[in-house]
């Protein structure tokens, strides 16, 4: 793998993360992070859509008239989202029930539109494909971190496996109580805010 591909792949992980730096695709990042399992499925779904839409749009980039490009991009993305939605409903029905509208909302997920517009319209198929994989991985990383915090503190478990021992819970004579707020929307907002803070201390990025 040459240097450019590598930097296209690794840049979005920390330095140019789609959620914390580019501020794209925040909606779904917050909504599906109640459980780690849902976050993983959502990230894989987004990776499929983003990598394929980036490649298709890069392949078509010389044929798309710039005036109608948004509609063309939306059509490509919407078709891919319908595909992944049907696949999820067929194979992991329970999880697709919990993800509710958020798989469908990948259509208007700013990451997909944003990368199509900012990257795939100017670069070749291979680079666009890796850009899609890299950005989806950066998105997935944040999703998994947020959901790990929310599931651990809200439910005491990770991937449905009980981490915090049952014996210290209040019901069984201990002192520990789950933090119910983590399962509600405010928990997601606050944890993501703190992650953004830590990430910006690490990269030294400042907003004016």
């Amino acid at each position: 793998m040459d240097k450019i591909t590598k930097s296209i792949l690794s840049d979005p992980l920390i330095d140019n993360n789609p959620i914390t730096k580019q501020v794209l695709g925040v909606c779904s990042a917050l909504a599906v992070t109640v459980k780690v399992e849902n976050a993983i499925v959502m990230s894989l779904a987004l990776m499929f859509v983003l990598a394929s839409s980036n490649s298709i749009i890069a392949a078509l980039r010389k044929m798309i008239p710039s005036k109608v490009r948004i509609i063309v991009q939306l059509t490509v993305i919407a078709s891919l989202v319908v595909l992944i939605d049907e696949i999820l409903q067929a194979y992991v029905y329970d999880i697709s029930k919990q993800l509710t509208v958020f798989v469908a909302l990948i259509i208007t997920n700013c990451i997909v539109m944003g990368r199509a517009e900012a990257f795939a319209m100017q670069n070749n198929i291979k680079e666009s494909f890796f850009d899609g994989i890299g950005n989806a991985a950066g998105y997935g990383a944040i999703l998994i971190i947020v959901s790990a915090f929310r599931e651990l503190f809200g439910n005491g478990s990770l991937l449905d496996y009980q981490i915090i021992p049952k014996s210290i819970y209040l019901e069984s004579g201990g002192w520990y109580v789950n933090n119910g707020l983590m399962l509600f929307p405010p928990g997601a907002f606050i944890i993501l805010g703190l992650i953004i803070w830590i990430q910006r201390i690490y990269t030294g990025y400042k907003e004016n």
Binding site: V82, V101, T108, P186, F189
Partner: protein, 208 residues
């Protein structure tokens, strides 16, 4: 009387209890980008109310007369009676929204230059705002009828407008406070959104 009561409780639910932004995280991207300025927030808020109020009932009609099983029976063509185009719903909704936004933009330009100059720049943004597509998908999932769609469309837009104007006002005040460097901008906005969302959570005990 009962109908009015039903609509009122539906509106209260959509505005406060299940606020589309603070409880479902829809429309976060434009919320974070636009809430820096109060005038712009009011403009975007009004545009969302307007477009949501039009597209949700319109998509209801698309669903009812084109997509669901047996919807095409109004054509009186025997072969079309059992056609079920449900899988096309996302593409149909986003196409309706994109076309509608374009149409509204042209009509405003022609008939109401004042409204156009204040809402104009936000209309194209709205086509890819998750809260618009989200509202239409909620309409489908919760099986609203025509009246309910109109009420839900307007009130979910109103909920978004309220949240974004509140946030813009808080961010205006925030300019004079000393925030740790890495937390400035996106980080503190997230945490504040969490706090507003926590305030809205207090409505959730109300049973309508």
């Amino acid at each position: 009387m009962e109908l009015v009561e039903h609509y009122l409780s539906l509106a209260t639910k959509a505005i406060f209890i299940e606020n589309i932004l603070l409880a479902y995280f829809l429309g976060m991207c434009s919320f974070l980008a636009i809430s820096k300025k109060i005038e712009a927030s009011i403009g975007l808020g009004l545009a969302v109310i307007f477009v949501n109020g039009i597209t949700v009932p319109l998509n209801w009609a698309v669903k009812e007369y084109l997509l669901v099983e047996g919807a095409l029976s109004w054509t009186r063509i025997e072969a079309l009676k059992s056609v079920n185009l449900d899988f096309l719903s996302f593409i149909a909704y986003i196409a309706t929204i994109a076309a509608m936004v374009q149409l509204v933009e042209m009509l405003l330009d022609k008939f109401s230059p004042f409204l156009y100059s204040s809402l104009g720049i936000f209309l194209p943004l709205i086509a890819v705002n998750c809260s618009i597509l989200g509202a239409s998908i909620f309409m489908q999932q919760r099986a609203y009828n025509l009246g309910e769609s109109v009420v839900f469309g307007f009130s979910s837009g109103l909920g978004f407008a309220m949240a974004i104007v509140t946030m813009a006002a808080i961010r205006f005040k925030l300019r004079y406070s000393n925030i740790p460097e890495g937390l400035r901008g996106l980080g503190i906005t997230m945490i504040l959104t969490g706090l507003i969302s926590m305030a809205y959570l207090s409505f959730s005990g109300i049973n309508l």
